[in-house]
Symmetry: C2
Subunit: 236 residues, 2 copies
DNA sequence: GTCTATATGCAGATAGAC
DNA sequence: GTCTATCTGCATATAGAC
């Protein structure tokens, strides 16, 4: 994993102050795990579009991977979507694998960061409600990222997979702790906390398989319906 | 969809009495939607292995698709696994797409057939328990089929996708009806039966993401844990 | 930073000998 | 039915001009 703070890796921070003079250097930074493709910001030079092309590469990859699957999408397709030739993509990523990995890592780190901001010491029931509603809302708002994060795990290299899995484990750990506290307090009944954790996450994440913004129900209604079922499923 | 009865399409029936003399004829039958690759049984001729190679092709494709994904697996890989050259595969399937479609259709039709055998007029609670336990058990026993059925939908052609979706819809319809009956009888509370249906299915199917036969819990224990959560999630 | 051109390899599918 | 050989095309990634 990158040693950079999450805000940096997520492209929300100060940006990369370095000014790599070539794609080779960009790749070199990758190899050192120092710099993420999504945050490399080079000095503008005549005819340069890196500050707009960079994000567009990730956006295009996100959309295409979600729609057709990582293995079914070619670098040429991504390039066409961005409006450049295939070779130009390699100014922004050392290879296709890293493109996928960056998308997934960005997603997971954003997820964790947002939860971090909402951690509270309230009673387990309130914390469970917050977690459930957050999970639904977040997943409804980012269908492509979520889809990729669940479907493309097997296309990661072993090392990248381990990184993503660790991030996912951390996210699930919060729910597991809420349930544990709730059971200890006599508020919840869960015969096997680990399995209950997985079951609740699966139930909530399943919303992505059917929800469409244009559908019968609003996001708020869906959020409430799911929270109600989660609440009952762990009720005493 | 094939007009053949399910037992035939599933390779459980009498087999195909026809004796195609060439791969071309095999493909022709496909085009007419008359014969499924999984059930073509040709007369044994000197040096022929079709009666063993056929199933082996599907088995190999099943395993490889589940492990690496449809798009990432080549016909050459499948052939190597079976122990033949790539060209020989086309005696058993007209193309790679049909291989995927047959695997998914076989899975869904088997699922539906097994449910058909268990339909009962018992009270909704008993029917819900039977459905939930069946779903867990079936999915634990066929991890590869289930994985493919959920992950490879987007790699189906439009027409094949419609067929599989219709089969899935039929399966979900049984659960929806159970819930509807239970709510009408005052046994269950579900604020939106359609969403509850999707949520329960997602919760149950999620078992495939973590369960391993060598793990801490037996299949029976898992079955009971999940049934307990489903029961509570729709409780009054 | 982006282009064109290219190196290198594998993909799905077919033809025809045996 | 299976083989070998092959057609045709696209894949990832790189080199070097501008």
């Amino acid at each position: 994993m990158s040693v950079l703070p999450a805000a940096f890796a997520l492209g929300k921070g100060i940006g990369c102050a370095m000014q790599p003079r070539s794609a080779l250097l960009c790749r070199f930074l990758y190899d050192l795990n120092i710099c993420s493709v999504s945050v490399v910001r080079m000095a503008r030079t005549a005819g340069s579009h890196s500050d707009i092309t960079g994000p567009r590469v990730l956006d295009a990859a996100l959309r295409l991977f979600a729609q057709h699957g990582f293995a079914a999408v070619s670098m040429r397709q991504i390039a066409r979507e961005v409006g450049v030739q295939a070779g130009a993509l390699y100014n922004y990523t050392p290879d296709k694998q890293t493109l996928l990995f960056d998308l997934m890592r960005r997603h997971m780190e954003d997820l964790l960061e947002q939860r971090q901001d909402r951690l509270s010491a309230a009673d387990p029931l309130s914390r469970l409600e917050d977690f459930a509603r957050f999970h639904i809302r977040y997943h409804l708002n980012r269908p492509d990222e979520v889809f990729i994060a669940y479907m493309e795990l097997r296309n990661l290299t072993e090392e990248n997979f381990a990184t993503i899995e660790e991030l996912r484990r951390r996210y699930e750990a919060e729910l597991e702790e809420i349930l544990r506290d709730g059971v200890a307090a006599g508020l919840f009944v869960a015969n096997d906390i680990r399995i209950t954790t997985m079951a609740v996450i699966a139930m909530l994440t399943g919303v992505t398989t059917w929800y469409r913004p244009s559908g019968r129900l609003s996001g708020d209604e869906v959020e409430l319906l799911y929270w109600d079922m989660v609440r009952k499923s762990v009720s005493a």
